[in-house]
Subunit: 299 residues, 2 copies
């Protein structure tokens, strides 16, 4: 396992978009300031989706504007869904553009009106355009490990999508377990599969905790060369009001586990845990954070 | 990873001993009957500790008596602490004797009044006596990965204890993460370490979920040759009234994850989940069971 693991904090996007309560922009800025201070590598500030469709993300442009001329070591990423999102992101100063397609045709149609391969062509075009003007780009395959609608997703199909990205010169690929169906051996096969298409690919892993395997899957992904892990403070994410309270892997728990092995001790877990505690107050429920419940091991 | 993973259900012992509410013997028998039906490999019915010290375990002898002349494919194990426990166990028909020492001198003194090496001599003697009359024996190293009192436990010391067991002909060894401090790379080193002392050792893993790494650690143990996993229905175990609500790995979640990789599909998860739901009613709280919350994936 590489010691060079990087954390992409996605709580402000994948977490907050699933909460009905809207966090005020000032509070978000407070949190972003703290996360920057914590030394996490990348923060996703929000997504560029229509504000009527997702009022929780309505201030995404404003957040980027706020940091446009500030100095910070953390990369500020934003999720875009289409050309309109790209325009907005370019205008407000997104530093890293994230975008993707779903490996489930059903999920893809529900989200974009297009089946996977059609959506893929469009996303590749956007990614290439951004890369051609020197922007950082990360592309993803959502529902890469299974789908709430379709069940099994063929691994062959996921690798086909990844190969399309690679063949088109987009080398920064995230596999996202949108439904939380992933299991360790499958994670191993898929990440190894992409590396065997092109070993220079930069791999990112994004797991949800539906079956409690989030951390395990992170470890299996890291073993196969995933360098970037997308996690959320407090394990935020997933709808708390459905049967499947399937949050993201919690940032503080992942980093704490890495710390035990002397990896990424430069990240300040206390700061992340502080945000989790504030989120617990705002959303009036306990978060899935073992570090907050049990305290850190300091030896 | 071997496909030959076996489950040792310890909820009735490691789970119930941590609950202040006492489960009636009739209910325990109902649960044991169900667990036998679920096709789990071993069930730990209880421990032979003084009933005044631990009233939750006062009916351990009665439980074994109940099954003494019944036919069942599941092995019924019991935890003994000393010679007195051995006598009781032999009298009531224990099929597999579990016993151990703590790798933390502080923990050992608190539990037995003896430091580790002194306690070890005594346990080895008991284990050898039981083996000499043809009984199944499993020995353990508790607090093998860290200690709530002492913090770090030297890996060298854990391997020294394991070697003592092996040198004395006791080949069935469990490493138990009593405090839940274990992390994946450490798990890998320690299980591999024992295998490198003697590759014929039979390895068992027992993890608590203090930092959410229970399942991850199970997987890392299995990769290094652990064949037996000690888990508890509903992730029962650990004191729910302390800061550290550190339950065991939940049986249904572990088996469900194995099922995803086509391993142990012969175990009936529905039955285990049923018991978890009953335990939720009895103890009036939600258990740490993802399968019960999210339902099983059947594809």
């Amino acid at each position: 396992m590489t010691k060079n693991i990087k954390i992409h904090e996605v709580g402000l996007r994948d977490g907050l978009q699933n909460e009905s309560k809207i966090v005020p922009t000032e509070k978000k800025i407070e949190w972003i300031d703290k996360i920057i201070k914590s030394n996490v590598d990348i923060i996703q500030l929000g997504s560029f989706v229509h504000p009527v469709k997702m009022p929780q993300m309505a201030d995404t442009d404003a957040l980027f504007e706020h940091y446009k001329n500030s100095k910070h070591n953390t990369i500020l990423s934003g999720l875009i869904l289409n050309e309109k999102g790209m325009e907005r992101g370019l205008n407000c100063g997104v530093e890293m553009f994230c975008m993707g397609v779903s490996a489930s045709n059903t999920h893809s149609k529900k989200n974009t009106g297009m089946e996977t391969m059609e959506a893929l062509e469009r996303i590749i075009k956007i990614a290439q355009e951004l890369q051609s003007i020197g922007k950082k780009v990360q592309v993803s395959v959502q529902s890469a490990f299974g789908c709430g609608f379709e069940g099994k997703i063929e691994e062959k199909f996921v690798l086909e999508i990844a190969k399309k990205y690679i063949d088109n010169g987009i080398m920064n690929i995230s596999l996202a377990d949108t439904s939380g169906h992933a299991y360790p051996e499958q994670v191993q096969r898929l990440f190894a599969g992409i590396k065997s298409i092109n070993e220079d690919t930069t791999l990112t892993a994004h797991f949800h905790n539906t079956y409690g395997l989030g951390l395990t899957n992170c470890y299996y992904a890291m073993k196969e060369g995933a360098e970037y892990l997308e996690t959320a403070f407090g394990g935020l994410g997933g709808c708390p009001f459905t049967k499947l309270a399937a949050g993201n892997v919690s940032t503080e728990d992942l980093v704490h586990s890495l710390n035990r092995n002397n990896i990424r001790r430069d990240i300040n877990i206390d700061i992340i845990a502080e945000i989790t505690k504030e989120a617990e107050e705002i959303f009036e429920r306990k978060m899935q954070s073992y570090v907050v419940s049990a305290g850190q091991l300091k030896y």
